[in-house]
Symmetry: C2
Subunit: 359 residues, 2 copies
């Protein structure tokens, strides 16, 4: 049914390989002929069949990307940036949502292998069982954003340790001496790197600043941040903490919502800093101080690295190529100098308790 080279060839009374060469702009076809062939192809609606071209060229000119959850805008933006970069270089990108489920991820990878992708980009580590399959098909892998354990040999992401350090430095610079890090029970490696950076900044103060780590959040959602904020609220009330760094903006929003319900003021009673700089961070009440990462930069670096691996002809299996981008702090109104705005939460709480012994 669809029109093929033979149809065009018949129409112009030439052989299919002349038509093929003309359409691809190769030399060895007179300009007049080429013109004519082009017109006919256009008129009868000819489009080359990629499957056939792939088969004969023995390469797919396509790359796969594994995204744990495409509905996270940060991940989607990485995908978009990569799609644009690759289209420019006439590679095709297969985008697959893995639901962060190893079994389903394996199926996705097998599908991509059957499509003969030339390279695999992955947000987060692909499951270990896939390593042998990818290796045996000679498919290079670039991991982006997240990993567990050792830094993967080909990696592009932000330096979470540096981000955590920056956030803590910001709070310390504002005079806070009792600060908390609010994270999840099951920490991903990058969450724990943020915590490590946070702790390094605290340690550098040689005891002048003390910190607590609260592992109460579940899954880094707004809801979870809200539901697990109780411990933090207590500490603020008791004056044990005057500033909180959250593992991500969503958790920060959940915490802020709870603080608001508990009539704790931000930043007067407690400073809050997030991580990610999602769109909403600029418009929350108050606007959220946070650590900013540029998704499209990851996409650009990731696709560039992949393209290098594909086109340099080098043996990359023994080369490590790891790109760690430096995140940047965006100061907004959710953090402020300690004690700037009068009485602390602890003092107010104490006053309240004294006037009403039942509390």
């Amino acid at each position: 049914m669809p029109i093929n080279l033979k149809d065009v060839a018949r129409e112009v009374n030439l052989s299919i390989n002349t038509v093929s060469r003309a359409l691809r702009g190769l030399q060895g076809v007179s300009e007049a002929r080429r013109q004519q062939i082009r017109e006919v192809a256009e008129r009868i609606g000819y489009r080359p069949n990629r499957a056939a071209r792939r088969l004969v060229l023995q390469r797919s000119q396509s790359i796969g990307i594994l995204v744990p959850s495409l509905n996270i805008p940060f991940f989607a933006e990485i995908d978009i940036a990569i799609q644009e970069m690759l289209q420019e270089k006439s590679y095709f990108l297969y985008t697959l949502n893995t639901r962060d489920d190893p079994a389903h991820t394996m199926e996705c990878i097998e599908l991509l292998v059957e499509h003969r992708i030339e390279g695999l980009l992955s947000i987060g580590l692909p499951p270990p069982q896939s390593a042998e399959l990818l290796r045996s098909h000679n498919i290079p892998v670039v991991v982006m954003v997240m990993f567990q354990g050792d830094l993967p040999p080909h990696f592009v992401g932000y330096d979470d340790e540096a981000g955590g350090y920056q956030a803590a430095r910001h709070l310390i610079g504002l005079g806070h001496t009792r600060i908390a890090y609010f994270t999840g029970k099951w920490e991903s490696d990058h969450a724990s790197l943020r915590r490590t950076g946070f702790s390094r900044a605290v340690d550098e103060t040689m005891g002048r600043v003390v910190s607590r780590v609260v592992f109460d959040n579940y899954d880094n959602t707004i809801r979870s941040g809200y539901q697990s904020a109780g411990g933090i609220v207590d500490m603020i009330r008791k004056g044990e903490v005057s500033a909180v760094m959250c593992v991500c903006d969503a958790v920060a929003f959940g915490l802020m919502h709870m603080l608001n319900e508990q009539e704790l003021r931000i930043p007067e009673d407690v400073s809050v800093i997030g991580y990610d700089n999602i769109e909403m961070a600029e418009f929350s009440i108050p606007p959220l101080t946070t650590i900013s990462q540029d998704a499209s930069r990851i996409g650009r670096f990731g696709s560039n690295l992949m393209l290098q691996m594909l086109e340099s002809g080098e043996d990359w299996s023994k080369v490590r190529h790891q790109v760690l981008l430096e995140p940047s702090l965006v100061a907004r109104q959710s953090t402020a100098r300690l004690g700037k705005s009068g009485e602390s939460a602890a003092r107010r709480h104490r006053a309240k308790a004294e006037s009403n012994p039942a509390v």
Copy 2:
């Protein structure tokens, strides 16, 4: 380099078509042989080549989806739902981000045609220039979510008119008699349908309720809602409006941010209702009353419709198949009964002005 049928055949000393049949589970191969062939294929890492299979089967078993901006979670969720549905039916989904740019969308469509997609799903109408190409290649199109002009013949989306009506009914039911609809200068058809539904509810009151439409927002972002909220603020101050419906949640958040800055209380001074029920709506301060649409339902209905068109064998070119889902209202704390909480914004404003004539 990659292993093919011939490699497996050589290994087991059989012809490639026996191997092919065994691996695909067709009858006519003894069970013992099949077992042996499977093992060998597994051992040497054979994976069928999709390009070759497509070529010979004369079908790609794949479908394309055009997404204007994949980083809008609502759209991404539609994509995810479709990907899951189609994978179950062993179709492959090509996800392409079009940037909402007609020229780029055309390139995307041409690419998909070269990949011989069997059907095209599109969030929003594909550009008119693509119609001829798609028709000539016999590719059915299902439009989702948005359209301009007439309802496309194959469409799945939510009934925006009904949503606008529900929102207005909600405000009227709370006793508001002066209500506003806050939308953009250049209204999309679905934004204007929401407005139509809104107006219908107002009209039904036979003049008991009056409404204003404010076309000041630009591009339905939080920022734009914030920057263009001035007109609404004035009306609230003057007592001309006690409730506002926004074209979407993002604009509602922008408006709320401005109201907060202007010390207008929600819902005491003004009720605000959004549209979309994005994740943040549950956690804004106050939580936002809004109209909810289920993205994965659109995805499920959309892919089902496409599958029907592909597999029923009917001539769908003369059949209209339009699915309009009913959205639902989610009542939260940003809307309240009129005058419930004491003095109105207008009265407070007047009092303030009297005590300070300079205002």
